[in-house]
């Protein structure tokens, strides 16, 4: 119940890439009880620090979970018989196939509820029946006259999707922006876990901005915070009909630990050891190049940061009916907490020693 409430608060808050102030306010409120400082940087990251109990100077680990979500933006205001309609474009990787019929909020001078409309099937010529509407065929309708629209809305205003978080059966829930509010929930649960479990390292929890567009928050925060290690937390593909191949994972069967050139093997091993200590089932995801997450930006900041990646399985990514299993969020939070609690003053040395070892991987 508590996890649902937490995810609900985060998921239902608007936070288009580039307009993260609302979601940042909410995350700040949620994290406040668990951390020592909260600041915002000049690109829009929310940065919270929980000090460790080790002697100064303490090593620092950065947790990055992005708070931004895919969204739309007003591109043109159209006039039709005295009414105003909005042509839009995408902010981040919006799947145009499902836009028709969605409900939205236009972040104009005031917040305006609206719908994404186009022609109903009855009115479409036969050759247009079988393909989704493109941006040039869709409009956002806020129900106002042209004059009223022009007063309240301008080109460049952000549009976020509206969708309440709903329970499915068992522990599965569905809603919007679970990419990546599911991971923000996990980071919150990790911070809560660390209230009761001592840790020597400083923990820098970052709700990053603009991941969906260019990993901006990861690059910027890793540069400014100079952590010794970092972990990105993001969603990955859940198993379902048609999605059964490699690198897709059962919902509710535990977090996914990623390995590949985007992840430091020592971080992977340490996360795995933490899971073992918790007797928690985890899965292994692989990438042969970029992971498509904040880990890609974190890894090459400054003189390089040993980076890990924890992923939460999710179905129907980048739609308004993304599905996750709450137990995966809870386990990911516990795993991150335990991993951090186990970090000691020898850990960094272990990372570099591990890279120099010859022979078979210890995995």
């Amino acid at each position: 119940m508590k996890t649902f409430k937490l995810l609900q608060t985060l998921s239902e808050t608007a936070g288009p890439s580039g307009l993260e102030h609302e979601i940042a306010d909410v995350v700040a409120d949620v994290w406040q009880p668990y951390v020592d400082t909260i600041t915002r940087d000049r690109v829009g990251n929310l940065i919270a620090i929980k000090y460790g109990e080790g002697p100064e100077p303490r090593p620092r680990i950065l947790l990055a979970a992005h708070m931004d979500e895919i969204a739309l933006m007003v591109k043109q205001i159209l006039s039709h018989q005295g009414n105003g309609f909005l042509r839009v474009t995408n902010v981040g990787g919006v799947d145009v196939r499902h836009l028709y019929g969605q409900t939205v909020v236009v972040h104009g001078k005031r917040a305006l509820p609206g719908v994404l409309g186009s022609l109903p099937p009855h009115m479409l010529p036969p050759d247009r029946q079988d393909r989704p509407f493109g941006y040039e065929e869709l409009v956002v309708d806020v129900g106002l006259s042209l004059a009223e629209v022009e007063t309240a809305v301008s080109v460049g205003d952000f549009i976020s999707f509206r969708q309440p978080l709903r329970k499915l059966q068992g522990k599965q829930v569905t809603g919007k922006a679970l990419d990546n509010r599911a991971s923000l929930t996990a980071v919150t649960l990790c911070l809560e876990y660390l209230q009761k479990r001592a840790h020597t390292w400083d923990v820098i929890a970052v709700a990053t901005c603009q991941e969906e567009t260019r990993l901006l928050g990861a690059y910027a925060s890793a540069h400014s915070q100079r952590p010794d290690t970092a972990v990105a937390i993001d969603v990955t593909f859940g198993k379902g009909p048609g999605a059964n191949g490699e690198n897709v994972f059962d919902l509710g069967d535990g977090p996914v630990l990623d390995i590949g050139p985007n992840v430091h093997p020592g971080m992977f091993n340490a996360l795995k050891d933490a899971a073992k200590a918790l007797e928690m089932k985890v899965h292994v995801g692989t990438h042969n190049r970029a992971s498509g997450t904040d880990a890609f930006g974190l890894q090459i900041a400054r003189d390089g940061i040993p980076t890990g990646l924890v992923s939460i399985p999710l179905r129907y990514m980048h739609t308004m009916v993304e599905v996750v299993d709450l137990t995966d969020l809870e386990r990911s939070g516990r795993l991150l907490g335990e991993f951090i609690a186990r970090l000691d003053d020898k850990f960094l040395q272990t990372l570099s020693d591990g890279m120099m070892e010859k022979g078979d991987s210890k995995r």
Partner: protein, 330 residues
Amino acid sequence: MNDLIKKLVEAYGPSGFEDHMRDLIRPEVEPYVDEMSVDALGNLITLKKGDGSGLKVMIAAHMDEIGVMVTHITKEGFLRFTNIGGVRPHGLWGSRVQFANGVIGMIGSDRIDDRSKIHPLSKHYIDVGATSAEDCPVGVGDAAGFVQPFFTNGKLLTSKTMDDRIGCVVAIEALKRLETTPHDVYFVFSVQEEVGTRGAEAAANGIDPDVGIALDVTITGDVPECPPMSVSLGKGAAIKVKDSGMIAHAGLVRLMRQRAEAANIAHQMEVLDGGSTDARSIQIANGGAAAGCISIPCRYVHSQSETVHADDVQACIDLLVEILSKPIEL
């Protein structure tokens, strides 16, 4: 101002070969700045100091232009070439290019059998009047820019390199008018924008600004059958909200808009689907900067007849001065 525009837009300076442009711009800005330097990539970095109460602001306008580079010389003395930046094969045939040493060549193409198709760049060549590889006055690796005189048609200003020499003009004119500023303002005349906004990235890493503003052209949606776009020529400075490379800092966008409204400067909001500017590099350099862009609306971008409106140029100068002469609260 047209004299300055003419001087800059007719000059040679493909990406990576901006020395001549730098020499042209340096004397224009020297009397107005406190410090001036050239970094390892060739960026001309100038500083106008503030009174200590403001932020560190980086203004970027790029000196480079799109062009071509010789890849091979045939035994008959014709030059095959590749692109520097976004050169499209449309409209290449019959155009003229000039090399750093002043040599001018005409562009021809291999035989055209199907007039419904356009030859790729690789089937074009440059004719500099040579008869063999031996008597050819330019070599492999030499770069050329297009040749077109600046011309005006009422308030419409046309040249081969409004992108982004007109941005350089906006920067220079704003600098001339900016008497005092609270901010340490770095006016950067950047290199290699057309090949991936690379000069500005290095400059921003070095300067580490709080705020970054690029001055560059943007396309318009006011010509026949163009994709939907709400920017029009003559309707004022375009305040960029988003392009395909970045989303501008929401607070900076708000500030630009408020300043334009308060000072009665014609302006329009810009959402661009394709293309980006130096601001994208400034945004992500170091710990990140609040980045935005003042765009000069321009028709026929990356053609040899890039066209801007004199009133828009003036509006961009006015807006930049308005922003830089007062405190910036984001």
